[in-house]
């Protein structure tokens, strides 16, 4: 199967965030970036699918120059080639615009399966996968827990529904899958993989290469800056060194809240 795997480069989980001076977004200098959590499971899922059915895995990432780090990691894990949609312009774009651009970058390749994450760690739309499926005229499944190839060119996919229900569906390929975290054990890149990554084919495409004007990729949603949420809560913050704070807390749990 021809498999595509979407990887997004996002600020590392416990990175100390600072808001940019103009308040529009976070200050990116000095931050470290990593592959978004779901996408790491996605790379693993794509590689396993290739290992069971044959074929190859292409990674696609849309982002500025720093996206190359995530691409390299995916190649080192075992992906075969990469497409980098190289632009800084869509950092805060809406899901539909991101999906439209990703679709344009891959539409001529005839992928059978596209693995995406069900949610990115930065913009967190839960949306790019299904929107991408629309543009590529593929079926899609969100919040995917497992996938396997079955007869008739279909995939059998388990995914989460509300109320702790798990649905199993047979979907025709081509299909876009939005994978959930925790669905497999993500492999580490081998030394050989790391050494080999640099020689694997990588194409860079700009928005211009894809035939987009600035108006074509103007966001459909305008973000009005970011801020740390206001502390609206009535939480009582307990101060002091750990020993002090711990004693105060236990006292309060006993005498004030009466829950201990």
């Amino acid at each position: 199967m021809k498999i595509l795997c979407c990887v997004k480069q996002v600020p590392e989980k416990d990175a100390r965030l600072r808001i940019a001076e103009d308040g529009s977004w976070i200050q990116e200098e000095g931050l470290s970036f990593a592959i978004s959590e779901c996408d790491r499971y996605g790379v693993e899922a794509a590689l396993r699918l290739k290992e069971s059915t044959g074929g190859d895995v292409t990674v696609v990432s849309l982002g500025g120059d720093r996206a190359t780090k995530g691409i390299k990691e995916a190649l080192a894990m075992g992906a075969d080639r990469a497409i980098h949609v190289n632009t800084d312009d869509l950092m805060m774009a809406d899901a539909l615009t991101i999906a439209k651009v990703l679709a344009a970058a891959v539409k001529d390749e005839g992928f059978d399966v596209v693995v995406a994450g069900q949610q990115s760690d930065d913009l967190g739309y839960n949306a790019v996968g299904p929107a991408l499926a629309h543009h590529l005229n593929m079926s899609h499944v969100q919040i995917v827990l497992s996938l396997e190839a079955v007869d008739g060119g279909k995939l059998r996919v388990r995914h989460e529904l509300d109320n702790n229900l798990i649905e199993t569906v047979d979907v025709p390929t081509p299909v876009v899958l939005g994978v959930q975290t925790g669905i497999n054990d993500v492999r580490y890149a081998s030394l050989k993989g790391i050494m080999g990554a640099a020689s694997k084919p990588q194409v860079k495409k700009t928005l211009e290469d894809l035939g987009f004007s600035a108006a074509d990729v103007a966001s459909r949603v305008q973000m009005q800056g970011v801020a740390f949420p206001e502390r609206s809560s009535q939480a009582e913050m307990i101060e002091g060194d750990p020993a002090q704070a711990a004693r105060t807390l236990v006292m309060k749990l006993k005498t004030e809240a009466k829950v201990l």
Partner: protein, 322 residues
């Protein structure tokens, strides 16, 4: 002409979902908008009648054998047709797992502006300005849809507590021909496997998150031991198999409401909060003073859990002795 807002309602096992009642409540909060609601299925009269009691001018039941079970194909086909007909300025629905599946695709199909997982909505300069979280819930942003619509907005669970409007809409039924729509084959729908650990009966729960770290997760058990508590977790410790999956608390795990809930190294993502918000007293221990979990907490300690938790174990043991 008044702006029109279409509310897409969901149901499961014959019942209107709470999150859909919340969406109706949000829609009613808009001044001077015409509220139309829609429910899709096969044999959904009773659900439509219930939905109508949540107000608006019209409730539309879309009936088709193709809608007997949810599929994104049939949902998107039926809703695209309805949207073409009604031309709503805004379309809202609850940010449920089902909506995560079909709503973005619907937004792309009707070429709308999509704003997912929204926590508040206000009318500003003729647009609906929406608040939502970014960067793993750490920051808040406000965003405006661009263009005349449709604006597709999904609402975070619990953000608009359901309030009955005390008015009933007229119900109409539509029977679109969806016979040409090719839907996926549903093999089964089953309840997720329940484990051995039932946290719902515990009086006290100590829950650990990703911040605890794999090798050090034992501190969570130690604190639980000292407190006579059960051990729970957010999703990442379960994903990484630091603890059993069945200890997961949240929208994909157990929903608990103990007397005391101690959240250790947990950031407070909405999918976790919905599983423990009902707790009588919540203690949060986190090194990040801006962590969302502090919004829910009764008591908070900002600090390194690997210092605070051992101190807490000691303090609990001391208190037992005295």
């Amino acid at each position: 002409m008044a702006n029109r807002i279409l509310v897409i309602a969901e149901h499961r096992d014959g019942n209107l979902k709470l999150i859909s009642k919340e969406a109706m409540t949000m829609a009613h909060g808009l001044d001077g908008w015409e509220v139309v609601s829609v429910v899709l299925g096969s044999g959904v009269d009773a659900i439509a009648a219930d939905l109508a009691t949540w107000g608006g001018t019209r409730t539309i039941a879309i009936e088709s054998p193709k809608l007997a079970q949810y599929t994104p194909e049939a949902y998107v086909a039926a809703l695209s047709e309805l949207i073409e007909d009604l031309k709503p300025t805004a379309i809202v629905t609850g940010h449920s797992y089902q909506a995560i599946d079909f709503f973005p695709r619907l937004a792309a199909a009707v070429d709308g502006a999509l704003i997912p997982d929204v926590t508040s909505v206000a009318e500003v300069d003729g647009k609906l300005r929406c608040a939502r979280k970014v960067i793993n819930g750490k920051l808040e942003t406000h965003c405006d849809p661009v263009g005349d619509g449709p604006w597709l907005i999904s609402l975070q669970q619990g953000a608009f507590p359901a309030q009955s409007p005390g008015a009933t809409a007229d119900v109409e039924t539509r029977n679109p021909d969806l016979s040409q729509v090719v839907t996926r084959e549903i093999v089964s729908i089953e309840a997720a496997e329940a484990g051995e650990v039932d946290l719902t009966a515990a009086d006290i729960i100590v829950a650990g998150g990703r911040g605890v770290g794999g090798e050090k997760f034992k501190v969570v058990f130690d604190l639980a031991d000292a407190m006579g508590a059960a051990v729970g977790a957010s999703r990442p410790p379960c994903d990484s198999e630091w603890v059993e999956h069945e200890r997961q608390i949240g929208s994909s795990g157990q929903v608990v409401a103990p007397k005391l809930y101690v959240a250790v190294g947990i950031s407070g993502a909405i999918q976790h909060l919905v599983g423990m918000r009902g707790s009588q007293c919540i203690v949060a221990i986190n090194k990040d003073p801006n962590a969302a979990i502090f919004q829910e907490a009764t008591y908070g300690i900002v600090g390194d859990l690997h210092e605070v938790v051992p101190a807490l174990i000691e303090a609990v043991n001391e208190a037992k002795e005295s």
